[in-house]
């Protein structure tokens, strides 16, 4: 009992310290600007140019007015298309974009929505507002065939699916070896991304070095989490349902430690965040960052497969996953194998988080947002199997992106979660699962 408390205290201390290092950059940034505003309205203005590449719109004037008219302020978007306007406090605001200041040939998609009324801010909130803008020609002209768009979305889907898969393998193997549905797995994804942010932005390392270091730190942290937190719980005979609820508690705890230290804003890494020069691969254009990310992911996943098939520990993982008691009586050190699962799972999750942070944004809850998609992928593939997690996640990623051909993109997460429910109706054991696994 005492050890669990000690481990929890150590864990909190560790998370605060590490997240604090990442937050250091944020604090510096804020002191540069003077006093940190507690509430703000922010957003990013980007449009797709002729080649379909996202380009930021610079120098666009945005005006914010409070509902009672007592406060007005305006600002311009910077060279990344970002704007942030501090407001005096929580309440209702209207946000207006001046269409005359948009770059040449760029128009608002909905010309009558240049003003957003009733944008509500809670205390301490930075509220993002969205002004969809289009390149004038693209707005009227259909630049590509449906098939071209399909291919483009498919590549996006593969990229995103690889990120989900990378993060989800640990989730699935942890379930397979310990029976724990780990709701705090998303926080391992965030942890990796934040540690990489610390190395890359605060310390100024190059992205590659930062990523490698973050993956190592995350692996060690994952191993420690198992050794000093989950293993004592297992040894006490804590039931799997109780552990599930504990993992939810851990998830909330870690998420708000991240928020505490990193702040509520979304941020970007120092390098590779905005790449305009895409590589043309037939109808598909892809920026080098995404191409390299995808190739690395594939390499890592192949490595994982070889590891699981060829090495002793990898075989042990599959054996424990398959039948824990049988594995133990065959002389496999189950605790050691589980510890390896945590180390590897956390390292992979961190890598997934870094890739996700590179192509999207780094934020304190990015992992939690990814968690449900991981569940969808893992359930689709077969809970508890490593390859199932891989296949299922890829399918989820691709279906999500391609679905935007037919339905508005705001519903793509809904699509993924609907797949999750659908698969449980028709084939609850998942694509690669075995029927007797399910209760």
């Amino acid at each position: 009992m005492r050890r669990v408390v000690g481990a929890l205290a150590a864990l909190v201390a560790l998370a605060v310290t590490l997240a604090g290092m990442a937050g250091g950059a944020a604090a510096q940034e804020q002191t540069d600007e003077g006093d940190a505003p507690s509430e703000a309205i922010a957003g990013t203005l980007r449009y797709d140019d002729e080649s379909g590449e996202a380009v930021p719109a610079e120098g666009v004037e945005i005006t914010v007015e409070s509902a009672d008219g007592s406060f007005t302020d305006s600002g311009e978007s910077d060279d990344e298309g970002r704007f942030e306007i501090a407001v005096p406090g929580p309440g209702q605001y209207s946000v207006t974009l001046d269409p005359d200041t948009l770059p040449e040939d760029v128009v608002l998609r909905n010309a009558d929505r240049a003003t957003l009324e009733g944008v509500e801010l809670r205390a301490g909130q930075t509220r993002s507002v969205l002004f969809p803008i289009d390149f004038g020609e693209a707005a009227t002209r259909n630049v590509s065939t449906t098939f071209d768009r399909f291919l483009r979305l498919l590549v996006d889907g593969i990229r995103f699916g690889l990120i989900i898969a990378m993060s989800a393998i640990g989730l699935s193997l942890i379930y397979g070896t310990t029976g724990l549905v780990n709701f705090s797995h998303g926080e391992m994804v965030t942890f990796g991304a934040l540690v990489a942010f610390f190395f890359n932005v605060t310390l100024g390392w190059t992205m590659l070095a930062a990523a490698a270091a973050a993956v190592i730190v995350a692996g060690v942290a994952g191993g420690g989490l198992d050794r000093f937190f989950w293993r004592p719980l297992r040894n006490r005979g804590t039931g799997v349902i109780a552990m599930l609820v504990i993992s939810i508690g851990l998830s909330i705890l870690l998420r708000y430690i991240f928020n505490f230290q990193f702040g509520g804003r979304t941020r970007t890494y120092r390098q590779y965040t905005l790449q305009r020069e895409g590589l043309d691969l037939g109808p598909v254009t892809i920026v080098p960052r995404d191409l390299i990310g995808m190739l690395l992911s594939v390499a890592v996943l192949v490595g994982v497969a070889v590891f699981l098939q060829r090495t002793r520990v990898g075989k042990g993982m599959r054996a424990v996953s398959d039948n824990r008691d049988l594995a133990e009586s065959s002389g496999i050190d189950v605790d050691r194998v589980i510890n390896f699962v945590w180390v590897g799972g956390a390292a992979l999750a961190a890598f997934g988080g870094i890739l996700h942070g590179l192509s999207a944004l780094v934020s304190w809850q990015m992992g939690f947002q990814l968690l449900l998609l991981m569940f969808a992928g893992v359930t689709l593939g077969g809970l508890g199997t490593a390859y199932g997690a891989l296949v299922g996640s890829m399918v989820v990623g691709m279906v999500m992106e391609v679905s935007t051909l037919y339905i508005p993109s705001e519903f793509k997460t809904v699509t993924a979660l609907a797949i999750l429910i659908g698969i449980l109706i028709v084939r609850p054991q998942g694509i690669l699962g075995q029927a007797e696994r399910v209760g």
């Binding site: 507690s38 799997v240 508690g249 705001e410 609907a418 999750l420």
Partner: protein, 329 residues
């Protein structure tokens, strides 16, 4: 440090409307998890479905608020059937994943700009709860004593809220001591044994899911009626976890567990948050350690730590019975 206002706020939180809302949500969860052993992690989905059914039926079809309440209950029943059909035959953890996923689906759909005309998008809806205050039985004035002083509006809100809580407790009390309740509790203990007695376990679980979901939806409907507006941001997964914390704190499978748990939960939360906020505001904690924005996170961390410690050291909560909880195996 302004101790008197901290303590006053904590005492007000003891019976405040959050305590009511989460008592209702936790009573529903107690039916699911405490009595039946169903892991519903999407209780907030039931609250949201109830809330939006009320708001939309009143605004779109012009029905009175009370009729809107019936729509809310109907919507919660539908949601329970939808959740139960694929998952109740499966292992407990599948229900956990599907319920949290479904509540997120619902939240994403109601905040989607495409359906703004009906759902109000991320701005939500308002102007549907006029009936609630029109029914107020209290004449204008101030009521109460000590820290619990309210206007007629506050009194009416609390009267309705605690009446709903008492009705829910009464309903659960009557059902759980009935033959139905004994079957439900037997399912929690040993599903196969119940099945071998010829009971349709699936059917009973479904009824339990519907019942607990409807009680949760009543919580959601009360919430938005008192608040007079509804926004999708309110229905993030966090309220479900709050309700779990309150339930486990009070004691699983205890009639008054969720109610007492919710009252203590909100008092503790108000107390700790009050102390932290005051300490930060008065520079007892320097800004380099914690500023006022960061102080807002402390309550969530405490909920996380609290959940972990409770489950590790006292899974039966304050008043529960260790033999009567579905956390083993």
């Amino acid at each position: 440090m302004d101790w008197s206002s901290i303590i006053e706020n904590a005492l007000r939180a003891l019976v405040g409307r959050e305590a009511v809302i989460y008592a209702l949500a936790a009573i529903g969860l107690n039916v699911h998890f405490g009595y039946t052993g169903l892991l519903n992690f999407g209780q907030v989905g039931f609250m949201a479905v109830g809330a939006y059914a009320v708001a939309i039926s009143v605004l779109e079809w012009g029905v009175p608020l009370l009729v809107g309440g019936l729509f809310g209950i109907g919507a919660a029943v539908l949601l329970a059937l939808l959740l139960g059909l694929p998952t109740l035959r499966l292992r407990a953890d599948y229900l956990a994943i599907v319920t949290i996923a479904t509540s997120e689906i619902f939240r994403l759909m109601i905040s989607a700009p495409s359906w703004r005309a009906v759902t109000g998008g991320s701005d939500g809806l308002s102007g549907f709860a006029g009936d609630f205050q029109d029914l107020n039985v209290f004449p204008d004035g101030n009521y109460g004593f000590g820290p619990w002083r309210y206007t007629e509006v506050g009194m009416w809100n609390l009267l309705v809220g605690w009446t709903l809580v008492l009705l829910a407790v009464l309903l659960v009390y009557l059902l759980i001591r009935s033959p139905w309740g004994r079957v439900i509790k037997a399912i929690r203990e040993d599903e196969d044994a119940v099945r071998s007695l010829g009971k349709n376990v699936y059917f009973y679980k479904m009824q339990s899911l519907v019942l607990g979901g409807v009680i949760g939806a009543v919580g959601g409907m009360y919430w938005v009626s008192v608040q007079a507006s509804v926004t999708p941001q309110s229905f993030s997964p966090i309220p479900t976890f709050y309700a779990y914390a309150a339930l486990i704190l009070g004691g699983l499978a205890k009639l008054w567990g969720p109610v007492v748990g919710s009252m203590i939960f909100w008092t503790l939360l108000s107390l700790t948050q009050g102390v932290v906020n005051e300490a930060v505001a008065n520079d007892y904690i320097p800004d380099s350690v914690m500023d006022s924005i960061q102080a807002g996170n402390v309550r969530f961390m405490l909920v996380g730590i609290g959940l972990i410690l409770l489950l590790v050291f006292r899974p039966q909560g304050l008043f529960g019975d260790r033999r009567e909880i579905a956390l083993q195996d």
